[in-house]
């Protein structure tokens, strides 16, 4: 059934996000600790670091994957919350549609940013 399939993708995206967001959190928020033990150079949001990462293919792929899975997982969770609020059938269908459209729009925008930055060779 459709609901079973959506739930399956919710679980799968959760597993993918655990890995990718774990890595992202490690890069962003363990930088000082890692710097103390000799890995990396700290301050991951400094301009050079940010644009250096944007131009690497592996980072582009990771970011696009994280964007897609994150959006699906989060918006499905939001849909769950709405579906437990005793709304009418039509309203439920409408909310499902709005969330799907919003998710796709955000995914397109984020992918566009990632791909564009990858293609430009430095600013």
């Amino acid at each position: 059934m459709r609901e079973s399939r959506l739930w399956f993708w919710h679980i799968l995206s959760a597993v993918v996000i655990l890995v990718l967001l774990g890595l992202h959190m490690g890069t962003m928020h363990l930088s000082e600790l890692l710097h103390m033990i000799g890995i990396g150079s700290g301050d991951p949001v400094q301009s050079e670091q940010v644009f250096h990462r944007s131009q690497q293919a592996v980072y582009m792929i990771i970011y696009i994957l994280l964007l897609g899975t994150g959006l699906f997982h989060g918006l499905y969770g939001l849909r769950s919350i709405f579906f437990e609020l005793s709304l009418s059938r039509t309203l439920e269908k409408l909310i499902g549609g709005v969330l799907a459209v919003a998710g796709i729009a955000l995914f397109v925008y984020g992918t566009y940013v990632a791909v564009l930055l990858f293609q430009t060779s430095g600013v």
């Binding site: 059934m1 609901e3 079973s4 399939r5 579906f83 437990e84 439920e92």
Partner: protein, 290 residues
Amino acid sequence: MNKSATQDKAILKTVKFEILRYNPAGKESPHLENYSVPITKGMTVLDGLTWIKEHLDSSLSWRSSCRMGICGSCGMFINGLPRLACNNQIVHLHSDRVVVKPLPNYDIIRDLVPDLESLFNKHRSVKPYLIRQDASEQDKPTGEFFQSEQELLNYIQFAYCIKCGLCMAACPTVATSEEYAGPQSLTAGWRYISDTRDEGASERQDVLYSSHGVYRCHFAGACSQVCPKGVDPALAIQMAKRDAFMKGFGFGKARKASSVMSPVQDWTPRGDIPNAPEKTAGNTGSKSEP
């Protein structure tokens, strides 16, 4: 009269009952009323309510029947949890204040009487009876369906449900969602799907695996915590999710429903079991008669 009987009647202390009162025909809005009740040994909350009705306020209303935790009538919200009033001794609440309110998540008819129609409707929607493609055996039985001990253990726990409705009162999803099937009906549905004698899994799919079925359960576990018969609805719902997941991948072979056993041949009775007495009623004993 022996000593223990006199001791049983001795008053241990006085506790204060705070009971929600609501009369649809009256003018007052719902409010809490206080009653002082003397407690004797072994007195349950239900006994306390009966004492109040007999001595203090005869207008107090509630449902009860068996007073021994098997009929499921006396579900109420007592001191912070949905409980059966007959199953809980006042001293075991460890408080001098007993707050009794009607079960949450149901409409209230009067005082402590909930309207359980929603529970029964959801239970009916799950088709809580054995469904076989060929119903002739059920209409005119010729023998027994085979079921091993392990196959029985897979579902018997979920068959202990007494439809008291405490699980629905505890569930956070039922608190906001009217369409959610709820722990009671999802457990009943799973009880029949996992019963090897049943062939009606596809007829229950629309309830269990819809957008208001098992996937709106998030394992808060309150249902299992309050169940007075140890049915563990949370376990049943997670097993239903697992079943859909495994079947979706093709794991878990689709089992054939159990078939009728042929009569056992060539058996000898054990020496120590007496024979059955002679039939005295006039019927022929044929199993094919209704």
